[in-house]
Every structure is written in structure tokens, then in C-alpha cells.
Homo-oligomer: 197 residues x 2
């Protein structure tokens, strides 16, 4: 048996996503070999998550600094008539990296297994409906993932929002850039034909 | 770009073994969703590693509590004439779980890539030689892993210790229990023939 302190930390790490007992143990022995400065840095960085990170009242993006609104929602150059709904923070960051989108966002709080109906309740549907009372928003871009779960969420949203009086769009489907035709799955290739222009 | 606090933590996590940028990001967003109590618990558990864990002066096993010697080395019922050399703490724990071994240990501090000679210097060779001055030790069991690196370390140790005046043994090789003959690799099957009894 490992000492209690080590056991405890293995237990916590093994709850991390993708991490099992074995990897959690490796993490602890990796940390045991770090020097005091690194350990204190990590310990503090974790505490800082709770102390410094806030969630934007408008879009639920995590942010640091003054006020209740994140830097994107506050940015006067962004198009407030376009609202892009994403499942999670990392999806938002992926879109931001393209530098192609100048609207604002709403983080729904996924991914959830949308096959189970009660899981949909974990999404910020009420908050979204509240957000959509904003008349400035003209178009809603549903940017959930092109997965079974994402599709189910998208369909659910489309149904839910069809009477919102806003234009509702979805991200285009087709071949990924750099992908090769012969390796594309049927769904993707089919979608590429449909979205041809 | 994520807020600084998040970036910082992603950076630290992505140095963990087996963890890349992507998994590190997942870790951070997993933590962001935990409540304050859990976060403080994790932060403290990490600090405790430095504050509570000591390394045994005899065998370098991490331990908690009084004194400079771990509970195994202190245990009067263990056979101090048998010294088992392992690469790392997790190997020691694996052996302890078998409940078959009643001797003591020495943690060499691996794994290292023994193909590079300078890596061997990271092992506790000097400390081992010091430890072996103990006349109580009669037999040295080299229990490095049956991998290329472990084998190289074992050969290095055998050469280094051959004039120590102690009996030197290695762990037996053969079929793993529960394994099937048709799936065993040639090396293992060959070793199983050699070690037949």
C-alpha cells in the first residue's frame, strides 16, 4: 500500500477524464520527483481556477478580470446580431482560432449523451432562451459537433427555437481541407455533394 | 486564447506523462466544473506530497510518518538477508501485492533509457554500493523489468556487483499465468522452455 498522501492523490487523479488508476499513479510519481517550486506553482494554479476564473453572464465563456461579461461579449467590433451556439469552451476556442467568425457565442455546456433525454436537462436551455430575448440577435448559428450527440442536440435546439423569430443556420458539411476523397466516409462525401457550389 | 490562469494550468498538465495539450485542456475544464471543496482538496493533496512524503534512507521507498526508515525496512519480521532491486516504486508495490516476498528492497530510480550510457548515471548506483556494505545482505535479487531497458540495467548491475561477495539472482522467466501459448511471443516461450521444471 502506498502512503495515505499518495493514495489520496491517486484517487483524485483517477477521476480525471481519460485517467485510470495506472496513469493516476504515474502522475503522482511524476509529481513526487518535481521540486518544491513546481509543486507550489501547480497547487496555486489549481486554486486560481476557482479564485480568478468567472463565467460570462452572456455566453458562459470562462474569463478573467473585471466585470461580469467576457472580452468577446464586451468587444464593440463584434457583430452582436450573430449568435453561435457551441457545446463547450474548447469548441469556441477552435472557432476563434479560424479568425473567420466575428459574431458572439453561447456555450450550451455539453457534451451530453443526448440519447438520454434527461441529459439534455444539463444543457443551458433556459439560459439560452433568456439570452435570446435580446432583440439584437438576428441569426442563431447552431455549431454543435457533427457527432450523433451533437446532431441530437442540434435537432432539439432547432425544434425549440423555431418560433424564436430568429434565422437559424447550421455549419456547412463537406470534405475536410487536406482530407482525401478515397478516405472520406459516405456521410461526409454525401454531404459534400449536397453542399456543392 | 484561454484566460492566463487556464493557459498556465494547461501548460503544467501537458508536462505530465502521457498527457498532451488536448488532454491537459480537458483536465482544466474538468477541474473548472468541480466545486470549491474538491479544488482545495486537490491543491492541498499536491502540497502534501512535498510536506509529508519522505524517502527511506535505506531503500528510497516514499513513506509517511516518523523517522528516516520506511515501514518495510523497519519491519522486524522481514528477511534482511534478501535485497530486491527494482527500477521504481510501482514495481515494489507490485511485488508487495503478491505477498510472496519477505525480504527488503532497493529502488534504483528508473526507468531510464539504458541504451544511452549517460542515463545510467541517473540511477542510484553509488547509493546501492553504499547499501551493500551491509553484511546482513546475502542475496541480491535483480528485479528490473523484462524490457530492453530493464535488461540493460540488469546486465550493468550484474557486472558491477559480481565482486560484491553476495549471491546474485534474477526473476524467473516464463509464461504469464492466464496467458495462452499461441499468443506468447518467441522470447517468452523460449524462456518458458529454459525454465521448465
Amino acid at each position: 500500500m502506498y502512503p495515505k498522501t499518495i493514495q489520496k492523490l491517486i484517487e483524485i487523479f483517477s477521476k480525471f477524464p481519460t485517467v485510470g488508476q495506472r496513469t493516476a499513479t504515474r502522475f503522482v510519481f511524476y509529481l513526487i520527483k518535481r521540486d518544491r517550486k513546481e509543486i507550489e506553482e501547480l497547487s496555486k494554479a489549481i486554486l486560481d481556477l476557482k479564485e480568478k476564473i468567472k463565467f460570462c453572464k452572456n455566453c458562459f465563456k470562462p474569463f478573467e478580470g473585471e466585470g461580469e461579461i467576457c472580452e468577446i461579449c464586451r468587444d464593440k467590433t463584434r457583430d452582436k446580431s450573430l449568435l453561435c451556439i457551441v457545446e463547450k469552451e474548447t469548441d469556441l476556442e477552435a472557432i476563434e482560432k479560424t479568425k473567420k467568425y466575428k459574431g458572439i457565442y453561447f456555450i450550451l455546456g455539453g457534451p451530453v449523451s443526448a440519447i438520454k433525454k434527461e441529459e439534455l436537462k444539463k444543457l443551458r436551455i433556459k439560459e439560452l432562451e433568456e439570452r435570446l430575448k435580446d432583440r439584437e440577435v438576428k441569426e442563431i448559428i447552431i455549431a454543435t459537433n457533427p457527432t450523433t450527440e451533437g446532431e441530437a442536440i442540434a435537432l432539439y435546439l432547432e425544434r425549440k427555437l423555431k418560433n424564436s423569430g430568429k434565422k437559424i443556420t447550421r455549419l456547412g458539411r463537406g470534405l475536410p481541407t487536406g482530407g482525401e476523397l478515397e478516405y472520406a466516409d459516405e456521410e461526409t462525401l454525401g454531404a459534400a455533394f449536397e453542399s456543392r457550389k
